[in-house]
Subunit: 217 residues, 2 copies
């Protein structure tokens, strides 16, 4: 029974890694589509999000099934419950990718943001991709140093997010209302993407300490 | 044992209702602060969000504790798992209130949005308050007709959210970049607030049918 349970926990972990990999591909495609006005790639991201959603639902069903049959306690129980929460956060990360891709598709063949902000968004996009890859590795290896690294990448993204507002609200901003709206939303989506990764990283990091629930918010 | 479990489930429900009530007060204060530039009320909302967060954490601890001790199966298990998710969504609704209050505080003594959008935001705010109150009632009574009503209020909020973009991107828009940024973010916060309520309503609605997990996304 115990052995079956360990196998099932391993399957949960493998499925989380699988979803995280798809999220990493999704944000890479979404940010490329966004920065290069690639509408085909944007449509790929939008279509692929259904797959991420379906995998998250299926993982949730597995986790609830494990709770019902194995009735885990203590740390094992917390692992299964945190898997449910991690899958919800991964699903939201996929949504953020999709929103970024939707902006690219909507503005095609124009670029979403004006020239003065493009370098900033390229950098934010690269950082989001790094965060997603590190998150996949963290879920695979449980190497908590990666959690610290994700937090530090997130700090950089927060700083860029702030710099977008400073630019948009600065005297030199020449963008019209559409540029302002799109830059605001795009920046928030990039920033939220990384926030969800930090929230997942915290859960993995604190699973070992037993008090992870209180660090959730 | 069974009786103890039923009492515990009832406590979970009561605590969800308690959090939902605080969220309803929070959005009422936040939208009033927003529409009337009331900085004191805005600060109340921001301070009170810590209380909502703490109650959500404490409810999560109770739910995990119930899973460990009572080892529920079937519908009982789904109720406890959905309580964990509902608490996460309520916590996010509190965050949206806080963000709306932060915009009000930041712009004080000015109003956050220009005149041409004020009536729209008053209406969105009222609808968010209605949604929060109906949600509290739904959690208290499990009367699923309320879930339908919440969905229908959410449709109105989505339409208003769209109308904000149409206004901001229209030829008659005279707002500066700051107005555009704040209107965009404020509209999104109002809309996301109701989205979370719809997501909770779906969970309550489908708890009876047994297939709620697949309607999660």
């Amino acid at each position: 029974m115990r052995e079956v349970f360990q196998q099932e926990l391993q399957e949960v972990q493998e499925r989380l890694v699988e979803i995280a990999e798809l999220v990493a591909i999704s944000i890479e495609n979404a940010t490329t589509a966004f920065n290069e006005s690639n509408v085909t790639l944007a449509e790929t991201v939008i279509a692929d999000d259904d797959k991420i959603d379906a995998l998250a639902v299926s993982l949730d069903e597995l986790a609830i099934n494990i709770l019902a049959r194995q009735q885990p306690v203590a740390r094992d129980l917390r692992i299964v419950v945190s898997a449910l929460r991690i899958s919800a956060s991964l699903e939201r990360m996929g949504d953020m990718s999709e929103h970024i891709a939707q902006l690219a598709r909507y503005r095609f063949p124009e670029k979403v943001v004006p020239k003065s902000l493009r370098a900033t968004f390229v950098e934010m996009g690269q950082l989001d991709v790094i965060v997603a890859r590190k998150l996949t590795e963290l879920l695979r290896t449980e190497d908590v140093r990666l959690a610290e690294e994700i937090r530090s990448e997130d700090d950089k993204i927060d700083a860029l997010h702030l710099s977008v507002f400073n630019k948009v609200l600065g005297d030199s901003w020449k963008g019209g209302a559409e540029d302002t709206v799109d830059s605001t939303l795009a920046s928030r989506y990039h920033e939220r993407f990384a926030d969800h990764a930090v929230s997942i990283a915290k859960k993995v990091q604190y699973l070992g300490t037993g008090d992870w629930v209180s660090t959730d918010y």
